[in-house]
Symmetry: C2
Subunit: 384 residues, 2 copies
């Protein structure tokens, strides 16, 4: 095996397209130069369609978590109340950030693998009139569940005056998001998922309603002070040093996304999701998420006692050079997760399915060779 | 001119060595993989000599400012007192971060171009017994002044129980730093200066004394919570997503630094400083910093009314493909600054000096062609 041919089928980071690698390789330029300012401003503007906003998209040097925190520290003050929808590990992270700053958190928890529905949220908010922000996770990476953000936004709008703040880290750029139309106030995401970049950048967009709140509040942190980013962005720059090589890459990613077109990108991800799910079903491996709430970017499988997911992952990696993800927290060692996102196409899904079949045989688990591949191929044929 | 041959002679970002570019180009790997953990832990350990510490060095996805903020939010609480040594734009940044969190700031200000001396600090601290942390800038990039950190540390130790926290962003890796021996409690730096990387990483090391304080305090922020980094680092990882491609590059930077050796690196920078200063003197361009406090990594020149520094910079860039820096804040348009740091060697100094001479002639300023180059060559000859 060629060590440098390792195939990433985890839900981020995703493989970097060669032309993006190439773009990041450009000679360094000063981040206060006009050349960089022009690139930065135009690239930020090109991100708007993926958020579904006519407002500014801010580019931050930091991880997705830094953007989650940014959405908290600019909109709330200690002692104020927030509702956090917790359907897995990343919903819980929002809660922890809020608690760090002394914000009163109301958790709406559902079992891992389930989605937060509009009905549940409506009931939950009914007796909490003081909630000033509702935090939700679009794609819960830890379980492969995609929460119904559009419907949840409607509930928030109808039932409260709270801001609706969404972590879209592991799906934005691969799924529909119309924050202006749906009434979502803040959307954050990261670079290493559907945006096909290395880790290191986060993106955030805020609604007019959100800005009205932000303008009234004192930011609780410094590096993540959104008003400082807005002020600098008016001059096509950032308050603190931006990650220049990643922005070079991002501009090339925008070229790729525009060439394919967002509707086609969304369809490709839905197709890969349907292929993966059909394959796992054909291999008798139970899926964690219901069809209705299945993430377009990552599929979680729960083999129960049929085989050890960690053994499967080991063989996949050592014998077939493909990396898939395991479970997090209480699901560690119990599930496996297949990423199908970003620089990934239907033939790649066939490849990972074939490798899973082989690996299952190698660890002595029952698996009909080719059965999963065939099921996925059939799904693909209905789309060509 | 070849657009991609633009030469950066600004005090960061500095040019990226081709072998580091190459290293950053490696295929993406999972940041929770054992492969990355091993690389991350060993690379962090290789940074220790540049800080002069036997303790851990933490690697953060963020700009230098994020690390400055990290040093504040883990060591102080609102209402507590700090002394901030302000000798330019970056000293002032420490003060602003402290004030954002409600920390009481005592500023020790000196005119831009001067250093904070041990005597001044001793007098300043004498009537401020409640100060819990003293913040200083090692190299003040905005003026080209290098503050005498070793002597300042001694004063802090003798006169108070405060922590001594140092911003070494624009010099660490190019100058001596022995934080353990000198009694410095926290040192922070960034990736895009002497470490020859793109922007996007920051490094921080803390003393045992600092950790005793940190362990007693509640962190004021989330992403920058140092205790979370320590906990994850014990497992060779980070609490939030690290910037993987930059860490690939950093490992290769460590190879380069170790091949040259720190004493030789320090000598090279001192030589480039002395060459640059001799050249400017030969061209009758006044220097901002005194010899005793001149930065090894950046030289600031104040031409008074002899010529317009902005015109010089424009011609240098448009005709000679070399970028130097202008002034910041009240020195904007009044000074120019030459970076000689990182992937830069004595012959590069001769090149930028030659280009400055040409440009001065092109803007009608008096300059003897070759005079600056010759002065720099003479300095170089005494070292070979």
């Amino acid at each position: 095996m060629f060590a440098d041919k390792m195939i990433l089928r985890i839900p981020g980071p995703t493989p970097i397209p060669p032309r993006v690698q190439q773009a990041m390789n450009q000679p360094m330029i000063g981040h206060r130069s006009g050349q960089f300012s022009d690139l930065f401003a135009s690239t930020a503007e090109r991100l708007r369609p993926y958020f579904g906003t006519s407002g500014d998209v801010f580019i931050l040097a930091g991880s997705g978590t830094s953007a989650l925190e940014m959405s908290v520290v600019n909109t709330l003050q200690p002692g104020e109340e927030a509702a956090v929808l917790v359907s897995g590990a990343f919903g819980e992270r929002f809660a922890k950030i809020c608690e760090r700053y002394g914000i009163v958190v109301h958790r709406l928890e559902v079992p891992w693998g389930e989605a937060v529905t509009a009905e549940k949220l409506a009931t939950f908010l009914a007796d909490k009139p003081s909630v000033q922000a509702v935090f939700a996770t679009y794609c819960e990476t830890s379980t492969g569940v995609q929460n119904p953000i559009r419907e949840l936004a409607q509930v928030v709008r109808e039932k409260s005056d709270a801001l609706f703040i969404v972590d879209a880290v592991s799906c934005l750029g691969a799924v529909a998001c119309e924050m202006d139309e749906w009434g979502v106030d803040i959307v954050v995401t990261g670079s290493q998922k559907a945006f096909m970049l290395p880790t290191g950048l986060a993106f955030l967009a805020a609604s007019k309603r959100a800005w009205e709140v932000i303008d009234r509040k004192k930011p609780l942190a410094f590096y993540l002070d959104l008003k400082a980013y807005r002020k600098s962005f008016a001059d096509k720059t950032t308050p603190y040093t931006p990650a220049v090589s990643l922005v070079f890459g991002l501009a090339e990613v925008c070229n790729m996304l525009e060439e394919e077109g967002l509707p086609a990108i969304i369809k490709r991800h839905e197709l890969m999701r349907d292929m993966t799910r059909a394959a796992m079903r054909a291999l008798n491996i139970p899926l964690m998420a219901q069809d209705e709430f299945a993430a377009a970017t990552v599929t979680s499988c729960h083999p129960q006692d049929a085989f050890d997911p960690e053994q499967l992952r080991k063989v996949l990696k050592n014998h077939h050079n493909i990396v898939i993800a395991g479970g997090q927290q209480h699901l560690k060692g119990k599930i496996f997760r297949i990423g199908h996102m970003g620089y990934c196409e239907p033939l790649d899904v066939l490849q990972v399915v074939a490798a899973i079949e082989l690996s299952l045989r190698q660890i002595g688990a029952p698996a009909e060779l080719g059965a999963g591949v065939k099921a996925a191929q059939e799904v693909l044929l209905t789309h060509v």
